[in-house]
């Protein structure tokens, strides 16, 4: 009988141990961003200086996005993250679903300090970046002018690469087909517009390679696999600076979007989180980020502190904004599932 009791006791201890191990521990502030060259730049100008300046211990992790990930984190009740950088759709949906804390702007310098599009009840804009047309100057004799050239495989032979899925792909197809960037979503909202986009994609279907992660397009260009690709502007810049590549990009007809910092609901480190957001929101810190990686930032005062040579290659430079279109969050929230199905139907044909 004693043996049985011991065995039961042993079992109970083990089970309790397993259960206890999953209980959230008190932990340091955890900031989550997109990894790669971008997070390296953030480490340099935000994370490390913040640790020194504020004396707050923090660690940083990286993720690949997805509202489902945040939903699981928050609703699972054991969120190990505090501050996360999210894309605009994640911001909208997470805000609707109550996954984020409402931002108290008095703690981060007040709303007036930031550019209006970056101010959101659930998050504060971190960067502005573009999907641009990227190409290798060493391989193409004459430079492409815009998305119309992207679809012209006679004049510019070689394969092309776009992001897998309907988002950005359909907009690019319409701009290439002559739709003014400002009207893209008006056209895409109609069935004829969607048909038109797929028809345009049909013209280069055999030459298309699909990329899934932001690191792939520069690799596809570098290996000569494709002649042109859609790519995040910062990646082109980084490849040119750090890997001595000679890549070019076209700002005309670029698609831009914002990423924002959010604080996950129920974060135990809210005070530290606000301290960090305040630090990362200051003009002088943001200007340093832009000098390390070619992204625009949200503080109104940042642009004035950036050298003109750097400024002209940023998404927020007036010339680069001229013919760019903001990716329409509301449109994609409504249509992403349907158009994803349609896109895959088309891709499988």
């Amino acid at each position: 009988m004693l043996k049985l009791k011991m065995a039961l006791g042993f079992a109970a201890t083990l089970t309790a141990g397993v259960a206890l191990a999953t209980v959230a521990q008190a932990r340091d502030l955890t900031v989550v961003s997109w990894g790669g060259a971008y997070q390296d730049a953030q480490k340099k100008v935000y994370f490390e200086p913040f640790k020194k300046a504020a004396g707050v211990p923090m660690n940083d992790e990286s993720w690949d996005g997805g509202i489902g990930v945040l939903r699981a984190k928050v609703q699972g009740g054991a969120a190990t993250w505090d501050v996360v950088q999210v894309e605009s759709e994640e911001l909208a949906v997470g805000c609707d679903e109550g996954l984020f804390e409402k931002i108290d702007y008095t703690k981060i310098g007040g709303e007036a300090a930031y550019l209006p599009p970056s101010v959101n009840p659930c998050g504060i804009g971190a960067i502005v970046y573009d999907f641009v047309l990227g190409y290798d100057k060493d391989k193409l004799k004459d430079a492409p002018k815009g998305w119309a050239d992207f679809f012209d495989t006679k004049k510019f032979p070689g394969k092309r690469s776009l992001r897998q899925g309907p988002k950005t792909t359909l907009e690019i197809a319409l701009i290439a087909d002559g739709v003014p960037p400002a009207d893209v979503y008006k056209v895409l909202a109609t069935d004829e517009g969607v048909d038109r986009a797929f028809k345009k994609l049909d013209t280069i279907k055999g030459d298309l390679v699909w990329w899934k992660a932001g690191a792939q397009p520069p690799q596809l260009l570098a290996s000569g696999e494709v002649a042109m690709t859609s790519v995040y502007n910062g990646r082109i810049d980084t490849a040119n600076k750090n890997e001595k590549k000679n890549f070019g990009m076209v700002w005309d007809g670029a698609l831009y979007t914002l990423d924002s910092w959010v604080i996950l609901k129920g974060s135990p480190n809210k005070d530290a989180a606000y301290k960090f957001l305040d630090f990362a929101g200051k003009a002088e810190n943001q200007s340093k980020l832009s000098e390390n990686i070619a992204y625009g930032t949200s503080n109104k005062g940042a642009a004035a502190l950036i050298q003109p040579a750097v400024l002209k290659d940023l998404p927020t430079a007036p010339d680069n904004m001229k013919n760019a279109v903001e990716i329409n969050v509301a449109f994609w929230l409504e249509n992403i599932d349907r158009l994803t199905e349609r896109f895959n139907k088309w891709a499988a044909k």
Binding site: L4, F10, G65, G98, W210, I336, D337, R342, K345, A348
Partner: protein, 420 residues
Amino acid sequence: MTEAFLTSADAPTDVPLKRRLKRAERARQVKALALVLPLLAFLLFTFLGPIAGMLWHAVDDWEVRKVLPLTVAALASWDGKDLPDEKAYAALADDVLAARAAGTLAIAAKRLNYAVNGFRTILTGTARNLKAPPEPGTAKETLGKINPAWRDRATWAAIKGASGPVTGFYLLAALDLTRNVDGAIVAAPPDQAIYRDIFVRTFTIGLSVTVLCLILGFPVAYLLATLPAGRSNLLMIFVLLPFWTSLLVRTCAWIVLLQTNGVVNDSLRFLGIIDAPMRLIYNRFGVYVAMTHVLLPFMILPLYSSMKAISPAYMRAAASLGAPPLTAFLRIYLPQTLPGIAAGSLLVFILALGYYITPALVGGGADQMMSYFIALYTTETANWGLASALGALLLAATLLLAVVYGKLVQGQQVTGGMKN
């Protein structure tokens, strides 16, 4: 008589021995159970629980019930033949106003948008334009003015269809089916009917990779099993080395080898075998090559262990009895390796069904497998209902195949044809 005989003399009670034996047996079983309890608990938490959760998500329909409770109640008695009555409209107006104040409208909008594309706009637009509850008796008119969709039976059918508490909506969608406005099950519109094809694609890739692994793995396993220990151990390292390398590294290595200006194309061009580079990657060929390479060890190891157990004396005996090598192989050797073939094939096939990263990196648009879509709906668009339904169907199909396969393999006696 026997009873008396069986009762032990020194027993304090007159409990028959049989019963005491049973008791001791039961105590032993309880002890054994207590020892595996941690493992059971672990499995329950990490495996069975999440799977049950997934299955529940596939039929759970909570959003509209939670956000628009009055409307759901008002529509309970609606026959769906004509537009609902004034009561339902008034209930909807109240629900929308309350949900807007609570900030929960988007949750219902998301769910209804799956059923009727554009419902998100209908609901948010209605909430924006509805300043106050409409005067009694005017709700129908007011809502119809705000958005003509409220004069459409399909809009209300969508709400009724999403009233929960459980729904077949996602499971039907995963089979390319949908319910029309009258509630009858019909085929989904052609632009949205992709999932059957993806199931077929997933099983085709899984089966092809299994066959390729078997063809390539069988001779390797045979070699390993028949070589002297020293050399076979060396070869075994070569089999295991890629096995210990990260999946991602192996997949990316294939990109380097197979791309347009990759090692393979450049070598073939250098040798003058081809003029223009061949397309070896970002298509089905690339998927087969990379997946076969990654899964090969899972085929070789079970085959090797079953071949190790076969005594070479059998083949010698067959030869001495006059069987030609092929006959001896087919009738003596092959049947004895069947358990290994069965285990290896099942392992490779089921692992292949769940592949996601490899096809995503080396496949084209037409080579994405079911896991890709499950991941897409889980993380990116957060359509957990559809993701769970696809997962549930994949699980069901896999279990079914495993059962059928098990029956087939069991039917094969290891004597394999020697008796007839």
